[in-house]
Symmetry: D3
Subunit: 208 residues, 6 copies
Amino acid sequence: MKMIYTLFLFALLSSACHAFVNDFCVANLKGRDGPSGYECKPPNTVTVDDFVFSGFVAGNTSGIFNAAVTPAFVTELPGVNGLGLSAARLDLAKGGFVPVHSHTASSEIMIMVKGEITAGFITPSAAYQKTLKPGDVMVFPQGLLHFQVNSGKGKATAFLAFSNPSPGAQLLDLLLFGNNLPSELISQTTLLDYEQVKKLKARFGGRG
Amino acid sequence: MKMIYTLFLFALLSSACHAFVNDFCVANLKGRDGPSGYECKPPNTVTVDDFVFSGFVAGNTSGIFNAAVTPAFVTELPGVNGLGLSAARLDLAKGGFVPVHSHTASSEIMIMVKGEITAGFITPSAAYQKTLKPGDVMVFPQGLLHFQVNSGKGKATAFLAFSNPSPGAQLLDLLLFGNNLPSELISQTTLLDYEQVKKLKARFGGRG
Amino acid sequence: MKMIYTLFLFALLSSACHAFVNDFCVANLKGRDGPSGYECKPPNTVTVDDFVFSGFVAGNTSGIFNAAVTPAFVTELPGVNGLGLSAARLDLAKGGFVPVHSHTASSEIMIMVKGEITAGFITPSAAYQKTLKPGDVMVFPQGLLHFQVNSGKGKATAFLAFSNPSPGAQLLDLLLFGNNLPSELISQTTLLDYEQVKKLKARFGGRG
Amino acid sequence: MKMIYTLFLFALLSSACHAFVNDFCVANLKGRDGPSGYECKPPNTVTVDDFVFSGFVAGNTSGIFNAAVTPAFVTELPGVNGLGLSAARLDLAKGGFVPVHSHTASSEIMIMVKGEITAGFITPSAAYQKTLKPGDVMVFPQGLLHFQVNSGKGKATAFLAFSNPSPGAQLLDLLLFGNNLPSELISQTTLLDYEQVKKLKARFGGRG
Amino acid sequence: MKMIYTLFLFALLSSACHAFVNDFCVANLKGRDGPSGYECKPPNTVTVDDFVFSGFVAGNTSGIFNAAVTPAFVTELPGVNGLGLSAARLDLAKGGFVPVHSHTASSEIMIMVKGEITAGFITPSAAYQKTLKPGDVMVFPQGLLHFQVNSGKGKATAFLAFSNPSPGAQLLDLLLFGNNLPSELISQTTLLDYEQVKKLKARFGGRG
Amino acid sequence: MKMIYTLFLFALLSSACHAFVNDFCVANLKGRDGPSGYECKPPNTVTVDDFVFSGFVAGNTSGIFNAAVTPAFVTELPGVNGLGLSAARLDLAKGGFVPVHSHTASSEIMIMVKGEITAGFITPSAAYQKTLKPGDVMVFPQGLLHFQVNSGKGKATAFLAFSNPSPGAQLLDLLLFGNNLPSELISQTTLLDYEQVKKLKARFGGRG
């Protein structure tokens, strides 16, 4: 039967000696990274498991924000390389929240599964905020600051999708208070009080 | 206070007379459509509801495939216009399935929520298939034929995300058997038996 | 004279020590592949033959479809790497045809040269079909199923252009009947009769 | 039967009230043009003739260059709108040629059909030139100056494909000598002799 | 002479009846906006002034930040529409600064002209900061928070270029403190003290 | 404090073992080049100096055009890799000019700083020319021929920004007269007199 298959290809493609199989580009995570993504794994080493991630279980929400984000980005799900798509699971314990953050080159869609989350994003001219329940879907346009707060009485869960295989996460507090920029400089360029900056630097590990 | 706001803008932007607010482009669904999406709604008419869709409830699975796909594409969620992202909810009754189909210019991520779904996609050199349970995520690369079958003992539910605000759905049976192309032509170009074609045309509404 | 040339460059570009020649990116076919194409050959090893392919002669149409497709994709014509363009030659013997297929991320233009070809593409809402003669040009939009049938009394020839340097070819029969997916699964998700599936699997080399 | 079709859609798509058919965006040539192309014709007014152009016959080569280019760009073939692809037919009488020119945002593939054409493109560090015969294919990378000369003993014909639905044509002589820029300015910035500029301005309709 | 010009075009292009001039798409600012930019002005109404903006004079730095940003975005310079490029002039009085901000879908290059500016951008893992003098150029990658502070003894001036015709400006303080989101919510999701939020809301016009 | 930082990340991201920092892709200039740019430097080897270039000083204008272009392209400023942006400084001595040229895949913005420059670009249907003074900004759309002439009484300086990290420069004279194409061929395809071609070949180093 393999012969028929070969004949078939030969019939349709006069030059039968090349690979012809670039229907995807699974990330070779040990290979080079470039502006459009990772180099491709050789197609013959690709298996279905490159396209499947099995870790969307309830995350550990015992941290300081009572929140857990479980990513299925290119590093966990190498099949999304070059496809402009990835996903994550969000778990919020009672009182939990994801602080204000953005994704540099990615929009986000949030699909509510359990509980109640008040989410919003902010532009220079307006804030767009909504309290969401299971069955609700909300989109956060690319690059805008947004937040998610568990406003319900129990746990909350949502799934997130991103328009980038590697959306990153620019957490505002980590950006402002987790580095070694002088506190005076941060205070000046954010207009936050110096004491406020020092207080949060202590919390987020920043020096200076 | 509004005065302070205005002063602020004036201070930072010497020419204060323009809009300056193109952080998103919500679809004006009654407006013109173009290769990159719909024209934008005037920003001052945009509300948070342009970014929220509340219909991800269990779909009606009493149809012939015992399947329901509830879309949150640009026509339901106009805020995704131009963002390269959309979503859908998939419900499969026991025995239900989504027949073989593709999306012309969109990849897809499936997030399992309930039950068990056997899903796969096919390339000219291999098929990639997996039985998925809650917590599993699978990606289907752009343009490839794929399918989803409820392989469990009860209902199954999954959320889908797409890398296109308007991914469409090329259902193979509808394409082949739902139109008026002559049955002989379809039989010839698919190599399906003529009787098979006629049988399925009767089912999918095709004539000829 | 070389000195004048050098002086010229020096005059116009203060920093004269760099290459400055990225006007193209010819594929290094032995190098890495990535989401946007192959890595570039070093410019000084590029010759005009990287931009020329000389194989658009009449293909061998003695196979099962009486059809031959001769590609000038990135693997045959490495100069198209990164340029969003490639070409192919299509030869159809009397009675020959290209079965229903699609290209995952590429549109196609067909330019008729000889004979008569009936071609068409199919969307969920309509089929678009035309009988073409020399002088006719037809476009098949990205990702849609299409076919080409020699509907004339002799040989037919056409040239094809693609909006992707590596358009691939998703031949429906090869996808459905050339792999090892269980016949029951294929029958279920295509709604084709089980016997039909088994019959075509025998023809296209599929097992299971 | 239409009922079955409707039921089918209803079964698969819970919200049945929207169009769902954006598999292409045929140019509404009387509509608005934008950075990504023309606005789309309403899908229900689209016919197969929007995807077919029937004018690739031998062009009139009696003009000053003994050359004819017959375009199938978006204005002749509105179905290519937004698809990143178009085509043209090139006819060269004996001695005919296409003078040095470029396409601002488009690569080009030339497929030789008849006769002999010497073609080439030029970069700052090298010129790439080849004499082509039927069966040869050559690619001209985006934005580079190139030319085509009938170097054979009879007529020559080739087909061209472009990576842009509206590639335009920047003919060097028309650019330099067809406008009203002062001849002194052109002489200075091209380093051509003033008399040379005046002589060619007379030929190409430029004033000043 | 016009006749020669016409003959020329006729010679080269068999179909002479179409416009053929899409070398740019100047924004019709009174027209529709879409995901890829504004609709194009009719080419015959375009003048050189659509490509020129004459307002890069010293801005008024008497405002609260002692800073002035003079934009040459698509609204001031409609010729940049669809070109992925725009510019601005930055003036900082002694002690002036541009507070922490980002551009949602644009990178930025700063070219120092006068004085001394300390600039930097912040990622979750590091801050990149430099004191710049005339002759220095710095790039701020897309979507990242950055700032510019006059660290010299007199006025400072720089020119900015952006990879987007309409880069906007997400000023952190204006986002956080210029809207009507409840102060409690802002305090919670930024981890800033409630009093700090109230204090800055008073300054930036926010209510709630 | 580092512990708090780590805890923070752990709290928010369940899978803490991966890098998560692809906010930029600084060019590894010794690495592979591809259609979308250079491969990325490992993030932990990146310093602020990858984002800063300090060479925008007055260029040497003693060459044949009395012009100097100092680039800050990806080879000088590796931080622009993949960002669609770069810059250059232009110095023109009295009488100096940049001859007619184009950039294959890049638009250009010119910001006037000193003196007076007459600049323009040319399309097949019109030339767009303007005499610019400090405070003026002009955009040259992608791929079009343009020029810059010092039309003032002293030195002139401008800054340039490009929509491509590696815009190259297609200098018309260098293209036409700096290579080894036969002078007869150049004369034929440009319509320039043979003697004119020979004269300029002598000046620009071309042979043949």
